[in-house]
C-alpha cells in the first residue's frame, strides 16, 4: 500500500514531472470544496478549505466552487452565500428533503453525479467523520485518487497536478502524493490544519442548483434519531485560544495537576502528548498531534514535552509557543518561540503564580 509503505528511494522517483493527461481528463477544470454541515451549522473546516482552495484556484487560474448538499430551505441557501463570502466564486447546491441528515448513499450519489456533470480537477473535503465517510465512497465510485489528512497542498506547475503532502509512519516522515491519470484529484484535510480565511460579505456569485435523482424509498439506511453531544464540560481543543499541555517529562500522573493549575489561571484548555494519554493520565479527547487533535491556539505552553514530530504536526500552527524542558537539546526548542530550560515541576508553579499576578496587574491598568 503506497501510502503506508512508500516505494524505496532506489526506485525511480515516479510521479514527478512528465506525464500527459488524456484529452478526456483535460476537460476537468476548477477547484471544489465540499461544504459540510450538521444540525444547522457548517463545520469550520469547510471555510478553512475554501481559504486553501482559493490559493490553488488562483495558481491554476480557474474557478473556486463550494458544494452544499442538504434539505431545501433557507439554511442551505445561506451556507452557499457564506461559501461565497469565504472565497468561493460560485456554489453548487443540491437541495432535497432526503439530504436532511447526513447519510452515505444519497450524499455519495449526489456528489458523484455533480462531479461527473461539471468535472472539477480538484475536490477537497474535511477529514471529519462525515468527510472521510463521503470521500472514500465518492473516490471509489469515480475510481480516482484520494489522499487523506493532508497538511500541505500545492500545485506542481510542470503538469498542473495537485501535490498533496501528509505525514506518514505515525508522523515521523512526510510524503507527497500525486494523482496521475485520474480526475478529479481528491484530498481531505483535518480541521485547523489550514488557516481560516477572512470573511468578506461583499463577495457575490452564482448559486447553481442541481437535482438529486433519488427518492426516500430507494435509501436503505434510515436515521431514527440524532442525539446531539452534551458539549458542556467536553474539551474543545481545536478551537481553544490558549492551551497548556504536558508530556512524559512530568514524570508522574500527580504532577499533571500542575498543568491544570496553570490552565485554570489562563482560562486555557489542557492538552497532552500521546504517551501521557496512553498511560491514562488524561482523557484521549485531549491528545494533541498526528493521532490526536490539530490545534491553532494563540498561545501554546508545552511542559515536559520533547517535541516529537507526532506531537509537533498537531500544534506547530500556534501563534506563540512556550516550551519548558530540562533537556536543552530537546527538539521542541527548535520550533518554540520562547523556551525555559529547567524542571517543569518547579517552573510550572512559578509560572502559574506569575501569570496570576501579572494578569491582575494588567486588569487594574486596563
Amino acid at each position: 500500500m503506497t501510502q503506508a509503505n512508500p516505494a524505496p528511494a532506489a526506485r525511480k522517483p515516479a510521479g514527478r514531472a512528465s506525464y500527459e493527461l488524456d484529452d478526456r481528463l483535460k476537460a476537468y477544470q476548477g477547484v471544489w470544496v465540499f461544504i459540510e454541515h450538521e444540525q444547522g451549522h457548517v463545520h469550520p473546516v469547510s471555510w478553512e478549505l475554501l481559504g486553501e482552495g482559493r490559493t490553488l484556484a488562483d495558481t491554476l487560474g480557474v474557478t473556486l466552487s463550494g458544494v452544499v448538499m442538504g434539505a431545501p430551505g433557507l439554511p442551505t441557501r445561506r451556507f452557499c452565500e457564506e461559501a461565497l463570502f469565504h472565497g468561493a466564486d460560485n456554489c453548487y447546491l443540491i437541495a432535497d428533503s432526503v439530504l436532511a441528515s447526513y447519510r452515505n448513499a444519497p450524499f455519495t450519489l449526489g456528489l458523484t453525479h455533480l462531479v461527473n456533470h461539471y468535472q472539477p480537477e480538484i475536490l477537497l473535503l474535511g477529514a471529519t467523520t462525515q468527510g472521510r465517510d463521503l470521500a472514500g465512497s465518492v473516490a471509489t465510485t469515480l475510481e480516482t485518487g484520494l489522499t487523506a489528512d493532508c497538511t500541505e497542498l500545492s500545485i506542481d506547475m510542470d503538469n498542473r497536478g495537485l501535490a498533496a503532502t501528509r505525514p506518514t509512519f505515525g508522523g515521523s516522515l512526510l510524503c507527497t502524493i500525486v494523482t496521475r491519470n485520474y480526475r478529479p484529484q481528491m484530498a481531505t484535510v483535518r480541521p485547523r490544519v489550514m488557516a481560516m480565511p477572512a470573511r468578506d460579505p461583499s463577495r457575490s456569485g452564482h448559486i447553481i442548483e442541481f437535482p438529486l435523482d433519488m427518492v426516500e424509498d430507494e435509501i436503505v439506511t434510515k436515521v431514527l434519531e440524532y442525539l446531539p453531544d452534551q458539549t458542556q464540560g467536553k474539551p474543545q481543543l481545536p478551537f481553544a485560544d490558549i492551551i497548556v499541555a504536558g508530556g512524559r517529562g512530568l514524570k508522574k500522573p500527580e504532577n499533571f495537576q500542575l498543568v491544570w493549575n496553570l490552565a485554570r489561571v489562563l482560562g486555557a484548555e489542557v492538552g497532552a502528548t500521546r504517551p501521557v494519554v496512553q498511560a491514562n493520565w488524561v482523557d484521549s479527547e485531549r491528545q494533541v498531534g498526528q493521532s490526536g487533535k490539530t490545534v491553532r491556539p494563540k498561545l501554546y505552553i508545552a511542559a515536559g514535552i520533547s517535541g516529537a514530530i507526532q506531537h509537533r504536526v498537531g500544534m506547530e500552527g500556534a501563534d506563540v509557543i512556550i516550551a519548558i524542558n530540562n533537556d536543552p537539546d530537546a527538539a521542541i526548542f527548535e520550533f518554540a518561540h520562547y523556551g525555559i530550560v529547567g524542571n517543569a515541576m518547579t517552573i510550572l508553579p512559578a509560572l502559574t503564580e506569575t501569570f496570576r499576578q501579572q494578569i491582575a496587574l494588567a486588569r487594574k491598568a486596563g
Partner: protein
C-alpha cells in the same frame, strides 16, 4: 450468520525511529502487530457471534509474514483466516486495496453468504480510513462508519441498528444486511485469547490466496497499475529556521525565570496580555 473481518498487519508506529542522518525509516526490530483499530472490529464481530452464533472469517491482504496477524485473530476466537498475498499487489494504494479485498470477499461468499463485513476505522500506518468505505462501495453494501455501539441485530428480519459517531452528536441508524461496519476505538476491550484457541491458532492452516484464488482477472485494477495515487517523495520534516528565545536569568530561580518570560511575552504580544486581562477573573 457469517461475518468477515478485514485486518492489516502494521509496524508498531510507536516504536518507529527515523535514522538521524539518512532520514530513512529504521525498520529493524520494529515489531509487527495487528492494527489496533481492527481489534475493536474483531471484538464486536466476536460478540455478535457469542450472541447469535455463526462464523467469523478474518481476511488480510499483505506479504506472507502477515499470516502472523491472522493467527493472532484465530487465537482471539476467529474461525477461519485467509491471507490474500501476491506480488502483483505490490504498490497498491487504497483504491487498489479495496478492489482486491472486495474481490476476495466475493470469493468467500461463494462458500457461505456474508451478512456483515467489519474493518478498522483506519490503520495506524496509513491512517487513511478509505479502505472500509471502498470495500462497501464495491460490494454494494450499506456503509456504517465510526460505529460506537451495535444496539440490535435481527437476523430474521435482516436488519441492524447502530449508533454512529457524527461531528456534533450520535446518529441512531437502521439499515439492512449485508452491510459494512467500521468500529470506533474504545468501544470494547479485546478479549484474552483462551488456551484452547491459542493451541488452535498454532495448528491452524491459514488459507493462502493469490490473485487468481481471490477471483481477480483484471490486473489493471490491482497493485501499482490499479493505483491512481503515487508517492512522489518521502522526506523528513524541515527543521524550522527559528530557534526558541531561551529565557535565562542570573539566579536561575523559577520565580525569576517566570517573571522574565511573562514580561517578554506581554511586551512582545500585548494582544495576549489584553485578552487575558479581559477574561473573567
Amino acid at each position: 450468520m457469517h461475518i468477515v473481518v478485514c485486518v492489516k498487519q502494521v509496524p508498531d508506529s510507536a516504536q518507529i525511529r527515523v535514522h538521524p542522518v539518512t532520514n530513512t525509516i529504521m525498520r529493524q526490530g520494529v515489531p509487527a502487530i495487528v492494527n489496533p483499530y481492527d481489534l475493536f472490529s474483531l471484538e464486536a464481530a466476536l460478540q455478535l457471534k457469542d450472541r447469535h452464533g455463526g462464523r467469523v472469517t478474518v481476511i488480510s491482504m499483505g506479504p506472507p509474514q502477515a499470516e502472523a496477524a491472522l493467527k493472532k485473530c484465530i487465537a482471539y476466537g476467529a474461525d477461519e483466516a485467509i491471507l490474500v498475498t501476491d506480488r502483483a499487489f505490490a504498490g497498491a494504494d487504497t483504491l487498489a486495496t479495496s478492489f482486491a479485498l472486495a474481490s476476495a470477499i466475493r470469493q468467500i461468499e461463494k462458500d457461505l453468504r456474508v451478512d456483515l463485513v467489519f474493518t478498522g476505522k483506519q490503520t495506524i500506518d496509513g491512517d487513511t480510513a478509505q479502505v472500509g468505505p471502498g470495500i462497501a462501495r464495491r460490494l454494494g453494501m450499506q456503509l456504517l462508519t465510526y460505529v460506537s455501539q451495535i444496539d440490535t441485530l435481527d437476523l430474521d428480519a435482516g436488519n441492524i441498528r447502530v449508533r454512529r459517531r457524527a461531528e456534533g452528536g450520535v446518529q441512531l441508524l437502521e439499515t439492512r444486511l449485508p452491510c459494512l461496519i467500521t468500529m470506533l476505538e474504545g468501544t470494547s476491550d479485546m478479549r484474552f485469547a483462551t488456551m484452547e484457541n491459542m493451541f488452535r491458532a498454532a495448528r491452524y492452516q491459514t488459507r493462502i490466496w493469490d490473485k487468481d484464488a481471490a477471483g481477480i482477472e483484471d490486473t489493471g485494477k490491482i497493485g501499482l497499475k490499479g493505483s491512481p495515487t503515487l508517492v512522489s517523495k518521502v522526506f523528513a520534516p524541515k527543521p524550522l529556521s527559528r530557534r526558541a528565545d531561551i529565557i535565562d536569568t542570573e539566579s536561575h530561580e523559577p520565580r525569576d525565570l517566570a517573571l522574565t518570560l511573562v514580561g517578554k511575552l506581554f511586551t512582545q504580544h500585548p494582544e495576549l496580555r489584553d485578552s487575558l486581562a479581559q477574561q473573567d477573573a
